[in-house]
Subunit: 894 residues, 2 copies
């Protein structure tokens, strides 16, 4: 509440004041339209400050307010030539809520206010339509009774249904004037019985009650919950305004109509009016669904002049608000009124198209064009998805682990998938959970569905990396591998039956459900080019294969920020070699096994480096613990038991040997175990082989004249001394390869920053490295002491519900904790090494608000899944705009 300035409580729409905070969104919009000379029914707004006063005084209207309202009504009477409570030409008004922030449906509105028996008669005289009047009357009594007087609405409805039954009619509009008049009486009787007082006949008493009711609705439970949920704090909106607007009627004959429209198509963004209207009807009738409204395009033929006027108004509104509008209109006996306007809600592709179009039309600049779109909304455009209009219900719901829709035949193991995949079948791999040795099944399938796991389970991470839809943690499924079926409640799905999964929503459907294919429209391309002009952050992709790399380039990636080599270890032709390497009893045997892997890895790197010619490619050395490449303990135990029974001693010995190794390698907390650089230190020959493969691949391509920019990245580093040891290997191998090829190799050497201690000792680490790349998934796990899968399965949902955490820190970077560590690492790292390049390659690299944080902290680039590259480009641009163009972006519009 403002103190010390003139407290003006009431503003007419034509007073030239359009302050949203003071007048609320609706009031300001009506005032703004009035100012633009648009046909708005006359009326006035009681300010939000009055609402504050109302609460400050213990839910009482401020003294003198009703006198001011009466004065305002007097002015309204003069403008309209009608009279409030008159028995000849009565003025009726609507009393509408409207806060600074739109809270659709949360607060109350009373229509047709000012009616009583006397006024009704006057209205009949004025409209010559008795039925219309009593229909309006009974609606008013019911609405007022419910909202202002607090009568249980069911009592009205029940009575009304009884009347209809008595009269033998089915639809409301079949009731005649006389009956409706009866209904009015019955409704008033209900009010009398319920409240012990008669329905207020005096129009100003009605008006006072309605104003109070609207103010009260601001603190209604729904409304308070809504504000809490959307974090609408008192500094944003601290009360509702009350709008008193002259009633106009679209149901006063065939020269009357009512409609709603978008100034541009909200689905396609096309620049043409989109909406519908009904002749001789009220807004409510559209909702009731009794008559079918016509598309607005027909108005072009039916009433070309009216159409042109609406079109003219639409353009004027867009020019004014710089946004496509969503508006309501009513034509009363040939005269057009605009009752409301607000920014149109659109889907992502319409947002993109209108942004580009409006910019080209000169309505908005590029900054505004870019800022209009929430980067995450682009995700809709980048994956196929189940048609949202489908009527089919999902049979189960899991965790949306990798976006996109896929359909295919159910298959329960990777080998079968490979076999069927070769025949060209579309498949969905369904497993309890997946393991590295299932990787060939991923390649053969269109999508993956697992019973266990979260967003970082093996299935989720691999599927995301491949850009394949995936649902994990779908615990309603009971798989019976032996019978080759899964059950969901009472349904049984057999191997070979078709299902559809939508990894964007986590829904599983029986059969083939229609899906929508993604389209990369011209306007999206153009918009992202603008983003590229503005952003400071580089955008790279996380990609492990040449195919993913190529797709990433198409999506606009300026390099590979994370190429995981372990994926290559898991391919069917390598896994046996990897297992041999792990099972080796000594360094010599291990080196022999690695010798065989070397040419395969070199070939992998040649392909990817070639695909990314001219761009940096960051290759991460082996990260996971070695036991991840071996079969699971339980499986092995079963196999050993079976072999013991069958008596195949030779195979038994081998399996027992593997079983023992698995036992030795198994860890209590694998996330914090023997992995990453720790494996590189204990078995240096593994990293040596990988570094050699990278050096040789680079040398081969350079010899062919291909420009390569490889970057060797060491995972899990926590202390500079670890990195020194690996750097020694790197320098040695590089020198050896350079001596063979007789030229220098332009290979950078760097490290993941994913261990807390690495952030804290970045100064030392920066001295032995060319680049940092934040691995914020592991860093978040360590900073919170949360194991992601355990947390997301067990307590994180509750933490978010209770508001202990505002965001899932695995989706959005935690600024106070993880962000602070990153900030330390960036500042101290760059201070120690001026040339240090710093990026991020965790999943956060594709999250818009995390990208903003990365920009703020001063990273050089983000690296994201190829599918999120466009999102990252836009978010990076928005970050710059928010920081630097903040003044150019003063809010306007609704």
């Amino acid at each position: 509440m403002l103190v010390g300035r003139e407290m003006k409580r009431i503003y007419f729409f034509d007073e030239g004041i359009t302050d949203r905070k003071l007048l609320g969104g609706k009031g300001a919009g009506l005032a703004e339209m009035t100012l633009l000379g648009l046909p708005v029914p006359p009326g006035f707004t009681i300010t939000t400050e009055v609402c504050e006063e109302f609460y400050a005084k213990g839910e009482k209207l401020p003294e003198g307010l009703m006198d001011e309202v009466k004065e305002a009504m007097g002015r309204l009477e003069k403008i309209t030539g009608k009279k409030f409570g008159d028995d000849k030409n009565p003025l009726l008004v609507s009393v509408r809520s409207g806060a600074a922030i739109s809270m659709p449906g949360m607060m109350d509105t009373v229509l047709n206010l000012g009616l009583n028996d006397k006024v009704a008669k006057g209205l009949i005289e004025a409209t010559k339509d008795e039925r219309f009047v009593y229909d309006t009357y009974r609606r008013f009594v019911q609405l007022y009774g419910k909202i202002v007087l607090g009568v249980n609405d069911e009592l009205f409805s029940k009575t009304f249904e009884e009347v209809k039954r008595d009269k033998g009619v089915k639809y409301d509009h079949e009731l005649d004037a006389e009956t409706l008049k009866e209904v009015v009486k019955k409704f008033k009787q209900i009010v009398l019985e319920q409240k012990g007082k008669p329905f207020p006949e005096e129009p100003y008493e009605q008006l006072k009650g309605a104003i109070e009711a609207v103010f009260r609705s601001w603190n209604g439970r729904r409304c308070v919950d809504y504000r809490r949920q959307f974090n609408i704090t008192p500094d944003i909106a601290n009360g509702t305004a009350v709008n008193v607007v002259t009633m106009v009627y679209g149901n006063m004959g065939n020269d009357s109509s009512t409609g709603v429209l978008f100034t541009r198509d909200p689905a396609t963004g096309d620049r043409e009016l989109y909406g519908e209207y009904l002749v001789n009807a009220q807004g409510e009738d559209v909702v009731a669904g009794i008559r079918t409204p016509k598309p607005i395009s027909e108005l072009k033929k039916d009433a070309p002049e009216l159409y042109r006027e609406i079109e003219r108004i639409s353009r004027k509104l867009e020019e004014h608000f710089k946004e496509p509008q969503d508006l309501e209109f009513t034509v009363e006996r040939g005269k057009l009124y605009i009752l409301q306007t607000r920014n149109a809600k659109m889907n992502a592709s319409a947002l993109v198209k209108t942004s580009v179009d409006m910019c080209k039309e000169g309505l908005i600049d590029k900054y505004r064009a870019l800022m209009r779109i929430k980067p995450d909304d682009l995700d809709q455009l980048l994956h196929p998805r189940v048609d949202p209009n489908t009527k089919v219900n999902p049979i189960a719901q899991g965790i949306a682990a990798s976006p996109g829709a896929a359909k295919g035949k159910v298959v329960f193991d990777a080998d079968k998938a490979t076999e069927l995949g070769k025949k060209g079948e579309d498949l969905i791999l369904v497993r309890e959970e997946t393991k590295p040795e299932d990787i060939h099944g991923f390649f053969a399938s269109k999508g993956i569905l697992t019973v266990r796991g979260g967003k970082t389970s093996h299935a989720a991470v691999v599927a995301r990396g491949m850009g394949k839809p995936c649902i994990t943690g779908c615990s309603a499924l009971e798989i019976d591998y032996e019978r080759r079926i899964f059950k969901v409640e009472d349904k049984i799905v057999r191997e070979g039956e078709v299902i559809t999964i939508d990894g964007t929503t986590g829904s599983v459907y029986l059969g083939s459900v229609p899906t929508i294919e993604p389209e990369l429209k011209g306007e999206l391309y153009e918009l992202l080019t603008w983003a590229d002009e503005i952003r400071r952050l580089g955008v790279r992709a996380n990609a492990d294969t040449p195919e993913a790399s190529e797709f990433a380039r198409k999506m606009g990636a300026e390099g590979i920020g994370l190429c995981r080599t372990e994926r290559m270890f898991n391919e069917p032709d390598r896994l046996p070699l990897v297992v041999n390497m792990i099972m080796a009893d000594n360094e010599k045997e291990r080196r022999e096994a690695l010798e065989k892997l070397l040419p395969l890895q070199r070939q992998d790197f040649i392909k990817i480096l070639k695909t990314m010619e001219g761009y940096p490619v960051t290759i991460r050395l082996l990260d996971p613990p070695l036991h991840e490449f071996l079969p699971r303990y339980e499986e092995l135990l079963n196999e050993v038991m079976e072999l013991e029974i069958s008596g195949n001693t030779k195979e038994l010995e081998e399996k027992k040997r593997i079983l023992n190794r698995v036992k030795v390698l198994t860890e209590i907390n694998p996330m914090l175990g023997h992995r990453g650089v720790r494996v590189g230190i204990t078995y240096p020959e593994i990293y040596e082989m990988q570094i050699r493969a990278i050096c040789e691949a680079s040398a081969e391509l350079l010899k062919q004249g291909v420009e390569v920019k490889p970057q060797v990245m060491v995972p899990q580093v926590g202390m500079a001394n670890e990195l020194k040891k690996i750097r020694e290997i790197f320098e040695k191998v590089k020198r050896e390869v350079e001596e063979v090829y007789h030229f220098k190799l332009p290979i950078k050497f760097g490290t993941m920053i994913e261990v807390v201690r690495a952030c804290l000792t970045a100064k030392e680490i920066a001295k032995v490295t060319d680049f940092f790349s934040f691995g914020t998934n592991d860093l978040t796990q360590a900073t919170f002491s949360f194991s992601r899968e355990d947390a997301e399965n067990k307590f994180l949902p509750l933490y978010l519900n209770m508001g202990i955490l505002k965001h899932n820190p695995f989706n959005t970077l935690d600024e106070e904790g993880v962000g602070r560590l990153m900030d330390i690492a960036v500042k101290e790292g760059k201070l120690a090494n001026k040339e240090l390049e710093i990026g991020i390659c965790g999943e956060h690299g594709g999250d818009p608000s995390s990208i903003e944080l990365c920009d703020k902290i001063g990273l050089d680039y983000v690296s994201a899944s190829p599918y999120r590259i466009p999102i990252a480009r836009l978010a990076a641009a928005q970050s710059v705009i928010k920081k630097e163009k903040v003044k150019a972006l003063a809010p306007s519009g609704f």
Copy 2:
């Protein structure tokens, strides 16, 4: 090498220069003794700077050095009245090494230098002892041949043995003068054959060779390795000095003798000379072990005057060096010479006693008394241990998980242990690993031995908490539970056989091996009182039981810094209730189970709070994940399978239910999972019960007039919002109890700081808490991304060996990483809350250098295992002394 000052190369012992760095330890000691007027054989020192010059010139003596040496020898001749190379009264010298830092046995020494055939004759004339002279001569040729000329020593030994065989004698001393003369000839022949040059007869040539050889030995391999191992860098010692000392002989008749002695008993610290001597003998004879030396006490009777002189010299040396000394003496024809003195090495109890005694004698002040003892050495005094003199060899070696020795009959399960324990048997519980349900077995046993696990496995942590010896990770053991045996290599040990374990060393012995019981001597008590006067840090104990608390008070604890409530959950009478609570299907059932636990917990707290009357008791709410209280998955699976066969359906259903719950609760990384405050948030009724038990226990005691200071501590907090939720419960329950008892409860509310994010957001957390207590074990795990058990089993040993890490960060706080986080938390926490009390309750709280870091960072107290309380008290005092009294502690002595 110093440049720009006068380069004096040679100092006589009597020149008044005692610079250790310049003269080396031995030279400085001789000079210092000379200065004190003690009888030291005359001699001089060639400085360590000459050694540097020697290496700078490519292993050549600096020009003119030998001229200076000759001049010095001339002076020596004057002093002694003997002549170098003389045939009448020849001067013989020893040439001895000696660096600034004592490196015992690492560098070379040549004795009896200056002998040749002519000189030998002169010496016979002077000594009238031909046999002595040739014996000395042959020793000289052998030593010089080996050290200076580099002849293989075996050639000398073989020849000497042949001579003895030829002569038919067994011992060296049975050879006569003539034969020894022959030996000299044979030895010279060996030199001639091996080196192609005759043995140098010219004394100055001998001397030059010996000086060079001593300098060369500084870079000998042994010596270089030693310096690397003990981190002796050039700034500490950069070369050896050479001491040329007049030979004196203790074997010149019955008025001659030789001996070594400590000025105080190095085993007890008693203030009396301790050592042994031999009449008419040389130092070598003591080593050879042919004659049995006499204890020094006999000298008191045999030569009371000599004894008094030695005693007088000893006191003078102690007064001068402020340390008990370890010295060598020789009496030549009645004249006493002190050949060497250095600080005596003593065991812990002698160190303690001498510290206190010397302080009382006025030799040293309290600061010096406290600084003389390495806190960790006190550990020897605080546990029983296997007698180090035992001849029995261990049969296996594991991880020293909890110090102390124990012996008893092997028992393989906790139930059996309880059964036998009741009969009063001494038992050692031997398991693959232990689980919470084995807890009653711990109570019943004297010690614990496990095949798997590290220093923080269940067995280790529980045993340490109980102060029982424990060895973990003893992988050489193969347990066969069915046959009730374990195997080690070819040995089989049956249940009921006696073994001895030493948890201080990790050794396992067959049978009952003698052990030494700990003694808390009066001087230790006194010394620790002095520590208490000086230290700033408070010292509390980690203790979970009234017994442990009482013991902790005896050890000097000023409160309980960590009382773990989960131990109470594991006791046999509670575990079934806890399991019921976990198995409950809903909050109501859970509350019912908790209702039954409440009185038991209350009773626990009453006992501990009463024991610690007047002192703070910090009680940590439940920390481990709930699945730790349920049986293991594999065990359950076996039981279910067995029940399926036997057809006991009722029990089968129950087991299956538990199995399912275990499956649901099992986590991928339990260390980062659903535990601590996360359990407190998801099942608030558990913490509510514990808080109620604490409040009611406190109220009961206060009513009885017992002063209690409970502190409720929440584990695993990572964000202030978590703590706010728990604080709400705390305030509510406290208020409820206060209303019942009609008085206020003086209970503090605080949190563990063991999550990285808690350190980074300490400012926010400090606002909702009365105290912080660092849990540096978990904090270290998260900072390094090391799972302690996985790391200690798999790669940490290699990291320490390779020098990637200097210390195991789980033993000694990592200053750069963990220490930095602690520093942030302390600074920002205290800034946000001036009253905030900060301690540490991890194992680091008992580690001296970690305690020093805690003092530096500004913690208020450390909390350690009761057995380490004395260590913590001493370390805390030393930290203050190091910081504040650094000038008072300028180094002196050796």
